[in-house]
């Protein structure tokens, strides 16, 4: 039952560094997370693990929260990169609405700017464990 965690990415105003990591270095055939049953899904309605990158910019905040609300339970929320955790390099900016966990419950943090692919995969494995406990 817990062998098919599908992953959905939300970019909350990220500089795209972490997104590049997610798209092209970490979750790619080289490290092959598909053998764990993980794959990206195009629709939030099919998602189990949510990867959120980026500090929550003011412009995108409502849309991110709206998109997040589309994801059915049970789900695991993962903050990828230091930006959703504390604001990262942007933390004193006027355009940032603060760390993600002011608005949504975060289950797992993967710090780094950007995190190494190995760190992302380890975080994903931990997220799968959390997801199994939530089922």
């Amino acid at each position: 039952m817990a062998k098919s965690p599908w992953v959905y990415r939300i970019n909350a105003g990220s500089c795209n560094g972490c997104d590049v990591e997610l798209a092209t270095t970490a979750l790619i055939p080289r490290y092959d997370i598909e053998r764990l049953g993980c794959k990206y899904c195009g629709s939030p309605k099919h998602a189990d693990i949510v990867l959120i990158t980026g500090p929550l910019t003011a412009r995108v905040k409502d849309k991110v929260l709206r998109g997040y609300s589309e994801i059915p339970n049970p789900k695991v929320t993962v903050a990828v990169g230091i930006c959703p955790i504390s604001g990262g390099v942007f933390r004193d900016s006027y355009a940032i609405k603060g760390p993600i966990d002011r608005y949504i419950p975060v289950d797992l943090n993967i710090p780094g700017c950007p995190p190494r692919p190995q760190a992302i995969i380890e975080g994903l494995a931990m997220a799968i464990e959390i997801w199994k406990n939530k089922l």
């Binding site: 062998k3 055939p29 309605k45």
Partner: protein, 262 residues
């Protein structure tokens, strides 16, 4: 009494073998093999072959959400209708030596029409979901089907005009005369069929309707939970139908039966 038995047998055929359950299982295994083969070609391990089973079970466990702007009745019932039509279509196909349906003329036409149902279901799902992506998927699927149906009718009519529209008759003729595969007259129809299979399934390069990178799975976007499993299951039945149907009709298995008996 005999009619009661007949109905009971028919229901078993639709629900378990060769329809329903067995079509679902075999279709999912086919999909699993496809993913595994793709992975191996890319020099990686890949998911286990039964991964699609896990996917389907997982999707069933999610909350069942219906968008506010969706037409609820069509939205929820279209995938179910699609699954049922696939199960019914499976019952029509004779499997040599294992299963013979009640012979009737015109089976082939019924089969072709039933095969069009998943496409219609996809269109209905897309248009009733109330999302822009769904509507896009609906119109794309419609374009695809218009191109597809003419091909399907060509194939069907070629077979029909050469022999008959009855599937049992087709299999029996091949048991006597040898499989169609070896008959050069049927080769154009066979090639057309090979082109038709990925288009009918919505597999690349014919996946405009469900393009994941463009319209985010179009018609299926707003589905979650148990209903999503119904759409997945419909696709799986379709896959099984396509991959196993033509070998039956071209009599590859009848060839095997003949070889093993003689």
């Amino acid at each position: 009494m005999s009619s009661m038995d007949g109905i009971f047998d028919y229901i078993i055929n639709v629900l378990v073998f060769p329809g329903g359950l067995s079509a679902l299982i075999l279709g999912l295994v086919l999909k699993g093999m496809d993913r595994k083969a793709g992975a191996r070609l890319q020099r990686r391990v890949g998911p286990p072959i039964i991964q699609p089973f896990y996917d389907l079970v997982k999707l069933a466990g999610k909350e069942n959400c219906v968008p506010e702007t969706a037409r609820k009745f069509i939205f929820l019932n279209a995938p179910i209708a699609g699954s049922i039509s696939m199960a019914l279509a499976m019952v029509l196909i004779p499997i040599s030596g294992v299963y013979t349906p009640d012979a009737s003329s015109g089976d082939l036409l019924a089969l072709l029409y039933l095969l069009a149902v998943p496409a219609v279901v996809l269109m209905l799902s897309g248009s009733s979901s109330g999302s822009g992506f769904g509507a896009l998927g609906f119109s794309r699927e419609m374009s695809l089907i218009l191109a597809l149906v003419s091909v399907a009718l060509k194939v069907g009519s070629e077979t029909g005009s050469v022999i008959t529209f009855s599937l049992s008759e087709i299999v029996r003729v091949q048991q006597v005369n040898g499989p169609f595969l070896f008959d050069p007259v049927m080769h154009p129809a066979f090639i057309t069929y090979l082109l038709f299979v990925p288009a009918g399934l919505g597999v690349a390069p014919f996946d405009v309707a469900e393009a994941e990178t463009e319209i985010l799975e179009g018609p299926l976007l707003e589905y979650s939970g148990l209903i999503r499993t119904a759409t997945g299951r419909m696709r799986m039945d379709q896959a099984f139908l396509f991959y196993f149907k033509w070998p039956e009709i071209t009599g590859i298995t009848s060839l095997l039966t003949v070889l093993s008996l003689g």
